[in-house]
Symmetry: D3
Subunit: 116 residues, 6 copies
């Protein structure tokens, strides 16, 4: 497994665990909602994860983009679908999204290497 994906997930898990162990009720419930919001409903999981990806990209949150890239991939999205989603993000959010697009592209490559 490439370092980028591994490192991100390890740090994310370690810190999430610490934060949740702290028992702040508001934070725990938000984490919980985050899991529920992306389950199948009227929209399927892949569509919801693409919604999460485009929202993360226009808000320029690299870690959120990395997280949703992985879920989007697990939900079966193709690279072309991901690029169309990121293209819409760049158009709506403007060229300030481009640095995040570069890092998203790099992370997607790391995810693809992980599978092979």
């Amino acid at each position: 497994m490439p370092n980028k994906v591994e490192e991100f997930n390890a740090y994310r898990s370690k810190m999430n665990e610490k934060i949740l162990a702290d028992n702040n009720k508001i934070i725990k419930r938000i984490f919980n909602l985050d899991t529920n919001a992306f389950m199948e409903g009227a929209l399927d999981v892949k569509t919801k994860e693409l919604l999460g990806l485009v929202a993360s990209a226009v808000l320029r949150c690299d870690d959120c983009v990395s997280y949703h890239l992985e879920s989007v991939k697990d939900a079966g999205a193709s690279k072309e679908e991901v690029m169309e989603t990121l293209g819409i993000a760049t158009l709506i959010g403007g060229t300030i999204v481009i640095p995040h697009l570069r890092r998203a592209y790099e992370y997607w490559e790391a995810l693809e290497e992980t599978d092979s």
Copy 2:
């Protein structure tokens, strides 16, 4: 046709026309891209419009939300799909999205009245 939808579209068309008549090349090309980005590709039109809606909502742009609500409806999205999309926007973007959610809901009602 209810006033809200009619007024928004009339103002939008009038000003877009003036802006485009001004012949600023960058602005004209961005308007043009905006049309192309939401055409069918690897993703279908409805999914792309939902992406546009969620991005507009987390960026808290009321006019962009109104515009994508109309396109999303034209592309065949149900109210339940729209609400799931706005739910994800509120979770990712936080409670500051709620005032925009209220206006989005109101605009959706106006769009529904327009059809009937």
Copy 3:
């Protein structure tokens, strides 16, 4: 009661009711969390509402500012405390906060008239 406060609260209640009647689980839970987060805990209610006010101001959400101005007032904050909070918001968030500061000041005046 002055129009500004009355109108805002009437619209807010009407739309919240409609949205909650729609039974989107994610949105309902976020509304619910919003109530819980500002209850007394390690921090008292007034401090929490001031936190809500400053966050709303730097994120430039007029409706959120109006809402928290009312709660902050109900929790016993003085005008001087509110102005110090908005001063910090303007320093951290920059001069783009100033138009929201003007509207916040106007809303605070409307709230004061409501009491008298």
Copy 4:
């Protein structure tokens, strides 16, 4: 004088006066800095006001855009220079800037009518 420009300036002056009368030291100093920052220095006034305009536009602050459009015009900027500035804002800030571009265009027209 057309209503749009007149109304905006009247409201702005009235509220600024009230806020400054309140004697919050931080807010007063920020208002003061705002005047100083746009005075001639290494850069001339027109360039500085164009910087203020593009920053206001990408941050999507309509009142700030209106204010800087007036100052930019007073500093001698042509409509073409203003449109190039707003074109850069729309490219960098994305299509969510477009609704603000429409209102900016409308305000510029109101300013032009004021002069004639």
Copy 5:
């Protein structure tokens, strides 16, 4: 002293010194205001620093969060008060605040180690 806190403060001091030595009047005054705004007034220092913390968190500025975490701690805030503040930030600012919450938690731990 742990590296994270030490490094951040060293870099911050070094660069602030260089920037201030440059004698740009606007920047110097903003730095000066930043010191004054968090002094005791109608609100006490701890409350003001918590306001600074929540504003920094919703604006997703890691360095600002680190800085205010240190001041908040110096002003006597408990971990529980800090977590309630960050919980409000995550609710208002949405799940895109979570990556910053992780880094804030990590920095708080580094601050606690520094004291022991």
Copy 6:
């Protein structure tokens, strides 16, 4: 050449090349527009690049700031002009711009070393 400038440009070129090779039409056109928008028009190149710099700074995009610092320097801007631009950014965008100001200052120093 100092590492900071070299590294940034190498990463930027490598990733841009990969992204453009991917043939997403929307993204390719946005990249293309980005080149055109900063060419001489009614405004000269230096002014346009300063507009790009201030927009990047208030939107708090470090990579965009680095990129425009280099172009601004190539277009003949002096350090004093750059500092006035960044001062305006800090005033309009608030103290949350300060961490980006520190990194901008550091990058400018790296650019100056590159020339000597």
